[in-house]
């Protein structure tokens, strides 16, 4: 784990990279990293996230700046600009049921080959997917997701990179923290080692590569 300046953190991310971005309607999204991606105009991105929030907020900023080529999300209904880009074929969108998205991200980080879920059986989500019958019930085989980078936001980060999370800002962050080759974390505060007791750490510092400097 290393501290890193905001600009240098985004410098690590090449054009066309795949990013997992934590947050739910921008709550728990690393907002400074969003701003810096826009400032450096890092385009052609694949973004895996729950949603694209609203224009001008969270991942919505990346959409506004047309930095995203491909989206894997559960919901875009709150962002008309995302819908517009999708219907205009400027943006490729894969819609994934939210619980399945969580499990696919987790499987990517936990080294599972996939999970079986009944969610989506008999719906359009089933198209192109393998299914298995177990004890007379049919399940979809849902495959793991991984990304080049995970951009996450925590509440407190200690000097070893251990993170905890705040209320509904937790959401996908701890799952994504394991599912990317490089993990970059923002935190509301940076605290000495030991301030977050062992039982309260949600993301162990050993999986965090960079922590963005506070400003």
């Amino acid at each position: 784990m290393k501290g890193i300046r905001l600009e240098a953190a985004v410098d690590l991310i090449p054009e066309g990279a795949s990013l997992m971005i934590g947050g739910f309607m921008a709550v728990g999204t690393p907002e400074r990293l969003m701003d810096e991606l826009v400032r450096q105009h890092r385009g052609g991105l694949t973004v895996i996230a729950n949603d694209t929030a609203r224009p001008g907020v969270g991942i919505g900023k990346l959409i506004d700046a047309r930095l995203v080529r491909r989206l894997i999300v559960s919901h875009i209904g709150t962002n008309p600009e995302t819908q517009r880009q999708m219907l205009a074929d400027e943006l490729e969108v894969e819609l994934v049921p939210q619980g399945t998205l969580a499990e696919r991200v987790r499987a990517g980080g936990f080294g599972l080959g996939g999970v079986l879920t009944a969610t989506g059986i008999g719906t359009s989500v089933e198209h192109g997917k393998q299914s298995l019958e177990i004890d007379g019930r049919r399940f979809l085989v849902e495959l793991p997701l991984r990304a080049d980078f995970a951009l996450i936001r925590g509440k407190r980060c200690d000097h070893k990179g251990n993170l905890d999370y705040s209320l509904t800002a937790r959401n996908f962050n701890p799952l994504m923290a394991l599912a990317a080759d490089t993990v970059i974390a923002e935190a509301a505060s940076i605290v000495p080692v030991g301030v977050i007791p062992p039982d309260e750490v949600s993301t162990p510092g050993v999986v965090v590569d960079y922590v963005v400097q506070r400003n």
Partner: protein, 218 residues
């Protein structure tokens, strides 16, 4: 009574003490505002909290404490934060007692369509598919028609949310229970006739000899 409040008030009667309940965005959220005094249920919001409370007073909003629509909420004593995997583990694993969801269409098989209108509105399914698939009890709370067009139809023309048969449909006109045999008219709203319900429904309804009227609090 406002029609949306009528629906919410009727749905509340389906909740049991101690239930873990998830309310969809829109009309279903009204349910939280009409709990009778003394009925303790736990509201889960799938973005990551059990024990969600009402909108906080002005100035006390916490940006990290919102509902699934991104609106500020509070948390009741004993509330717990959960990540998205746990949130849907509770939903998919049968720990969620009731989900109340909006609907675009419900059909004679009890199938719900509520997540997209091809070519027009593609919001995504969010948590709806997991909720309908996994909750112990699925209640659809919706207006009976959309600009005069029936939403309770012989077979959904919109993409399905799940092939699981929902448990109850509550509208401003009626309470309808999807069963193995078809859609059963269980109750009618005050000042509504069975014929009015039938006239606003394109699906076949099974109508018992006696159809009671919803018993709503004054």
């Amino acid at each position: 009574m406002d029609q949306r409040i009528l629906i919410a008030t009727r749905v509340v009667q389906e909740l049991q003490p101690g239930n873990l309940v998830n309310l969809g965005i829109g009309l279903p959220t009204l349910v939280a505002n009409h709990l009778p005094p003394g009925l303790e249920v736990y509201f889960q919001s799938e973005n990551g909290i059990i024990g969600m409370g009402p909108v906080p007073e002005e100035g006390m909003e916490e940006p990290d404490l919102t509902d699934a629509g991104g609106g500020y909420v509070s948390a009741l004593p004993g509330a717990t934060s959960i990540d998205s995997a746990m949130s849907f583990g509770l939903i998919r694993g049968g720990h969620l007692d009731v989900t109340v969801l909006g609907g675009l269409q419900v059909d004679e098989a009890g199938h719900l369509a509520n997540w997209m209108v091809p070519g027009k509105m593609v919001p995504g399914m969010g948590g709806a598919m997991d909720l309908v698939c996994g909750a112990r009890r699925v209640i659809v709370a919706m207006t009976h028609t959309a600009r005069g067009t029936p939403k309770i139809v012989p077979e959904c023309t919109l993409p399905l949310t799940s092939v699981r048969r929902v448990d109850l449909v509550v509208t401003e006109l009626a309470v309808i229970e999807p069963t193995e045999q078809g859609l059963v008219l269980k109750e009618i709203a005050p000042n509504v006739t069975v014929d009015e319900v039938l006239a606003n429904t394109s699906a076949r309804l099974l109508v018992p000899d006696q159809v009671p009227t919803m018993q709503l609090p004054g």
